[in-house]
Symmetry: C2
Subunit: 348 residues, 2 copies
DNA sequence: ATTCTAGATGCATTCGAATTCATATAGCAA
DNA sequence: TTGCTATATGAATTCGAATGCATCTAGAAT
């Protein structure tokens, strides 16, 4: 770089600073004495640029602190490299871990996550509009949507993957843990432990995950000719786990020796209620099982018997499926299902 | 709407469908027989548009499924309405709740969150580049940055707020829980409970939060002429809470009657180790305190004595400060500090 | 020396909405 | 009817990078 060139670069830099402006590809071009297209190409791997040019431009870009404007790029390439992740704002301690996993996997592919958390069911429509406006390349749905809402995405050809949910009526890609199978397994284990009086604490009534899990458990119980099962509705929270067990015994007057909870967190509440409120020995007097493999479930105070969702695999699968469909939108929907992993614990 | 107009709209719709294209403001303009500027104005509240025009355009927009392209809008307005949220991928169960809070507060203001999770310290530089490229309006930093990295944001005039951290050398806005004060309080409570032999389980050595908390505790202990304090380094995880207590007693041969943990999750591990490994009565034989107010800390099995961070307030403050600085970048940095709330629990 | 080719470069256009400025229209007063 | 205003509308430009196309250059082949 000659001295006069150097000066020119600094002059441009000064000018930008004065006007408090970001460097654009034009600025770099001007400062380096080349065309804007050249600058653009220098930032595109595999483009036809000479070594000399690339070096020169990179030098100037560094001095000016230039980085391509992703927004402008998105506009012309019609690719935002952003995906939306929509999660229910459950009391579900499980999602956070999911977010971290997804974030890792997406970042590896240079994709960024726009996060949407749902407060109320009614926010969905609003959020779908936002998703659409922001031109995201795809969507991960870890929230409950109506078929109408799903079809919104379908009609607009936004690739999406349902996480731990599916729709029977609308074709869609999904990644799931086999809730049904997992619950069957748990029931079998409870039976093997000679449990006789079963009860179930479900999740909120609009949760399809809870519904599937409970169907799995019930089906197996019926197969085994156990039909006298008490069912009570929880809301996935620790507190509702406690309360449900208490009202089950105190109000419904049903004394179970096996409690099947729709998720781990409720199971933990249930354990505490059993131990503290009723002074039961767990699992001697009462068995309690959950579902998820939430982190606190394995803590010594609990050591919950549960089925663990293979979170990493599931997140990766979701990202895989989504990215494939972004690359080639003509791909048909794909569903992947993973078996949960039995975690023996100490409450059975 | 006359029939011929109607037909024209449907024709445009058909055309878009054929080419598999999204409707743009031009399409709407064409279909409605007005100018593009008119369409644009119809979507801007308070713009000068006649009622008739607004109605007509809205009708057509609905039929064509038109929503303004946020990317294109960002380009021209120089406002992306996106903020970056950078969090450490700690074992810290506390962040998830923060995310939900932030998401709620930002969404209320029509701002969207681009989520970045840090695996390694070394990712920071990379992530800052991304943040810059995506033209975010501001950044929430819930991760540790070096002063050099901080100054990157400063130099580029990106408004940002440090969450639960500050820099002494670089002026910056921040929201904090008063860790120092909180720890003093806990120490005083431990003293009031007649505790004599103290030990501390810190967080990872590069965590400034942990450093501040431990300084607060130590300072108070020294003021009270207690200088014989055993310190051991943990990593914020449940497991490290367990291990630290065990190695403290078994290896360092130091038998404490008070354990100060840098966060709640370690304290929970510590409680379990005390109860199960050592058969201690908590708090009879040993007091254990944490910091954060993590959800599981209040579960019956633990009922940890701790100081709870006012999460909602802090998140709101962070959003407030950030948005103010986005509206008016000339505002000087502002630091807000909140006192933690003592949660008595049952382990002291 | 001449022709051909591959690679390098620049020009001009494009993506989609916002906005400035100029113009047109309706409404009202004189 | 004329003139004036206030409001509505459209034309043209802008944001910043990517890219198809045309042009140019250097080196190889003849």
């Amino acid at each position: 770089m000659t001295k006069s060139q150097d000066k020119h670069v600094l002059y441009v830099k000064e000018e930008l600073a004065q006007n408090n402006q970001r460097a654009t590809s034009y600025d770099v071009a001007r400062a380096a004495g080349v065309s804007q297209s050249a600058v653009s190409r220098c930032f595109k791997p595999g483009a036809s640029v000479s070594e000399k040019m690339r070096k020169r431009v990179q030098e100037v870009a560094t001095v000016l602190g230039y980085q391509p404007n992703a927004i402008a790029r998105s506009l012309i390439t019609r690719r935002s490299n952003m995906v939306a992740v929509v999660i229910n704002n459950d009391t579900n301690l499980y999602y956070p871990e999911l977010l971290v996993e997804l974030s890792r996997d997406f970042n590896e592919r240079g994709v960024h996550m726009l996060l949407f958390t749902l407060e109320h069911e009614s926010d969905v429509a609003n959020i779908l509009d936002q998703v659409w406006q922001y031109q995201v390349d795809g969507v991960i749905l870890a929230a409950q949507l109506s078929d109408t809402q799903l079809s919104f995405l379908g009609q607009r050809d936004i690739p999406f993957v349902y996480y731990n949910r599916t729709s029977d009526s609308i074709p869609c890609s999904s990644v799931q843990c086999d809730h049904f199978e997992g619950e069957r397994l748990l029931v079998d284990k409870l039976i093997a432990a000679k449990r006789k009086r079963f009860c179930i604490i479900t999740g909120p009534s609009d949760s399809s995950v809870s519904a599937t899990r409970m169907q799995g458990a019930l089906k197996r119980l019926h197969e085994l000719d156990i039909s006298d099962v008490q069912i009570i509705e929880g809301d996935y929270s620790y507190h509702s786990g406690q309360e449900s067990l208490i009202s089950m015994i105190d109000e419904l007057d049903w004394q179970p020796d096996a409690v099947i909870c729709a998720n781990d967190i409720m199971a933990l509440g249930c354990i505490d209620a059993a131990r503290n409120h009723f002074k039961f020995k767990v699992p001697k007097q009462i068995s309690i099982v959950g579902f998820d493999g939430a982190v606190p479930a394995s803590w010594q105070a609990y050591q919950l018997t549960t089925v663990t969702q293979p979170l990493e695999l599931m997140a990766q699968a979701a990202v895989d499926i989504l990215m494939q469909r972004i690359e080639d939108p003509s791909l048909p929907p794909e569903k992947r299902s993973f078996s949960g992993v039995f975690s023996p614990g100490n409450t059975l």
